[in-house]
Amino acid sequence: MTVFTGTQLQSLGRLGRSWSVTAVLLVGASIATYPLIYTVMAAFKTRSEFASNRLGLPLHPTLANFGQAFERLDISRLLLNSFVASIGGVVVTLVASLLAAYAIIKLRVPLRRFAFFLIVGSLLVPFQSIMYPLYDTMLAMGLIGQRIGLILAFGAFGLPFSTFLLAAYLGGIPDELLEAARLDGANSFNILVRIILPLSIPAIASLTILNFVWMWNDLLLPLLVMGGGDGKTLMVGVANFRGQYDVNIPLISAGISVAIVPAVIVYLLGQRQLIKGVVTGAVR
């Protein structure tokens, strides 16, 4: 697998080389992780310890900042808002894109090419160009400031990529399977639920993780739809921490540490699906 193979002399050189490669990678890895480690460490320090011992390990670790974060920053409400919006958005996106991909690829409905173009092509409409008109349209529909408004907006913005991926995936399911079920008297909805859905679980798992992470982490759409009111998501809350509690870095760090946890858990659990989904399009 390695670039350098051959005689023993070369493999000796390879050993030295592999350690120098590891050393370089270690330097980069510490740059990648240090800001996170620093923040988590700060979350466990009291304000006075943070002032005297900014960089070191917390010598007298305290959970007080986390308690305060939940109390003063109202993290539990923000967490709940984010969970409702992200999970709702994932469900809307997946249901709509699975139905659409099924109709386009397997039922071959009339105008399917045009529908596919409309749905997947909307990926190219950049958010910045429609930022205000989107707000205006949603206002007219009574969706601004409503949880359901954010869920539907997330659903719409997750749709193009999810439909694209599911369409490619359904294309690989043999038609004979569906034909056999049809001969047994199954209607198209039965086929979708009994055959297509179970077979698409790998693609759906990958899309669930990808969509959850971006919806959880997104700032602009929740900011636009929910504003800074009671329904604001965790990320909008985090953006406001700085302004309000700028002097209390340990408190902010505790809030940030909590906010990071869900995305990191999803990453640890679904690393493989996530990485596979993220590089779709890079390598054909």
Binding site: A29, L107, M131, A156, I252, V283
Partner: protein, 326 residues
Amino acid sequence: MAVARPPPSPPRIEVRPATRSPRLNLLRTGRRTDDQRSWWGLLYLLPALGLVLPFKFVPLVSGFVDSLWHLVDVGGAGQFVGFGNYARMVGDPEVVAAFANVGRVVLTLPVWVVSPLLVAFLIHQRTPGWRLFRAVYFLPYMIAPVIVGSIFREILGTSGPLNILLRSVGLGWFAQAWLGGINTALLAVVGVSLWSFFGLGVITYLAGLASLDESVLEAAALDGAGFWRTLLSIVLPMLRPVVSYWAVLCLGGMFIWMFPLLFSLTQGGPGYATMLPEYLVYLTAFQFNDRGYATAIGIVLFAVVSLASFWIVREMYASSVARERA
């Protein structure tokens, strides 16, 4: 992918006609048996179209219309100005500064393209712990950019870790308020965004490297090609499609993914030092309430992104063709 098949092959697979191409097959059955049912099938498209039309296409069309109007009063009727909003941009120092800034950011593109490739190539050597390195490098990409901004406001602060580090190694004269200086703020924002997106580049390149033919690399090693030589003369040209994919992704990101970072790092300041068009669209629409103008800026931004991406793809294609001819 495992090629090995279990010995008792399921009967279903035997039924499958191997000679017909699946694509043709798709179209034929569609014409023959599904026509009546398929009109019903349109119902399955309703949820998707019901989302895409009001959330994407209605705003897109009304955005073009809005950009021709002077809309300032909330709820009040606007005034038709034709392409006045577009003409106004040329003389607006804030707009000019924002587009000049994004131009400066684009100049850093080579760093964005080469540095993750370097790390991916090192990880690809399969040295001890490479799986762990892959996971660690990707981790920052999982952190929301708005949180990344909050973290780095502290890291890059006047008395933050970076300046403490600089002072401790005798570079105290170099320590400064990175985000507060006219000359350093934009560079700091670029650095933070590179930290944030770097892992995606590494993962993308690793997927590309995995698809390369190892024997070419082994032949290069036997011919005595060193590390840099292999990377620049062999790996980079062979990965051209992945490199251009990643370059276009970065370019798009520089234009339209920076909002949350700017929101939590600098808010476009000091002055206009870190003002980028996408942030200006937001400010103009929601702080200054100048909605028609904001939409016009958004549309110009869209045009610029499309042109820049097109140009990159064409350049890369042209240079690869030239290389093949030579």
